[in-house]
Amino acid sequence: MKYAFFIVVIVSLSFGNVTHKLNFSEDLTSETSHDSLKVVDFNGLEKYLSRKDPNKTYVVNFWATWCAPCVKELPYFEQLNAEYSDNQVEVVLVSLDFPRQIESKLKPFLKKKGVKSEVVVLNDVDSNTWIPKVDENWSGAIPATIIYNKKRKVFYERSFNYQELETELQQFIKIE
């Protein structure tokens, strides 16, 4: 039984690699797409927090390149986005980087890390107005994450490792 599990893992891993190679040209386009990053104010962001596709679960992570715990957990969101794309899960990374550092820091960072999830820059200084709209209990510290679908919405003011993130997500996609 254990053996079978390992075979599945190995097979899926190698498939992962193959897919990765096959998608190489797509990777390039997705990386280039970060060259024209979407910069929004909170009105522009709200649609990402209230998308209505009944089949999908959305994972929205607030982060910044200067936030060390955010950078640490970013690969887990990337992994989630890759591994659960078949399960109708969409990850959106909302960057709170300073607008003047979009070119000098954010874009080079996304390119270097090969980030594939959708990235949106939130540029809205009136945080006292919009933070409570994201969640009443958010103090404003990042990292912070929202997971939601048509059934429910949960806000997390905390860091995740992959296992923790996956456990949270599974509670959304398992409940029918």
Partner: protein
């Protein structure tokens, strides 16, 4: 059976989440804040009780390494210059674990304070015991306290102003408005505000 499992799981999540919230609450406006005794960058221990003439304090949880905190350094210094002699000095407290953030070590704090010409105490929250009592979650995070017969009462919690990017484009000076109101014997107009900041490193 599967449903029971799900329900138990859901229950665990609810309990865990609420427990987490209780731990993270800290002070609300109106609460009495405890005094502290923390080491300053000059090696001396500092408490609020040391300030005989103070009417209150601007307690700022801040650090060297968070860009939001750095963006506000000059404004924190300006607050101290403006309000220390009116009875509301700034006390800055560095809450991060310096093992996680070596850039916030006492030596680094000393260097930063010298480079920026800080005129306020810049204290190390040794053992990270003070910030959880206050309920600070990020840097910068401000608590305006007023000295009353009951103790140091929390009058304002939150951001310094409404524009972290550009000091010249600020339209609401939350901390200044709070202190001006206290000096005039009036109610603080906006008692709690929120801003993005770097989570305190544990």
């Amino acid at each position: 059976m599967k449903n029971t499992f799900k329900m138990v799981l859901a229950l665990i999540v609810v309990v865990a989440t609420s427990a987490f919230t209780i731990v993270g609450t800290g002070y609300d406006v109106g609460d009495i804040a405890t005094d502290f005794k923390l080491e300053n960058i000059d090696g001396k221990m500092v408490s609020m009780a040391d300030f005989n003439d103070a009417k209150g304090f601007i307690v700022v949880f801040t650090c060297n390494t968070c860009p939001y905190a750095v963006a506000y350094e000059d404004r924190v210094e300006a607050l101290n210059k403006k309000y220390a002699n009116k009875g509301y000095p700034v006390i800055a407290i560095m809450p991060n674990n310096t093992d996680v953030k070596p850039g916030d070590s006492m030596e680094a704090m000393r260097a930063r304070a010298k480079a920026k010409g800080f005129t306020f105490p810049y204290l190390m929250d040794e053992g990270q015991k003070v910030y959880p009592q206050y309920g600070a979650t990020k840097t910068p995070h401000v608590y305006v306290l007023q000295r009353t017969k009951k103790g140091h009462q929390v009058k304002y919690i939150g951001a310094i102003d409404d524009n972290y990017q550009d000091a010249s484009a600020v339209t609401k000076t939350y901390v200044e408005d709070a202190i001006n109101a206290l000096l005039d014997g009036k109610e603080v107009p906006e008692k709690k505000t929120r801003a993005i900041g770097c989570s305190i490193k544990v």
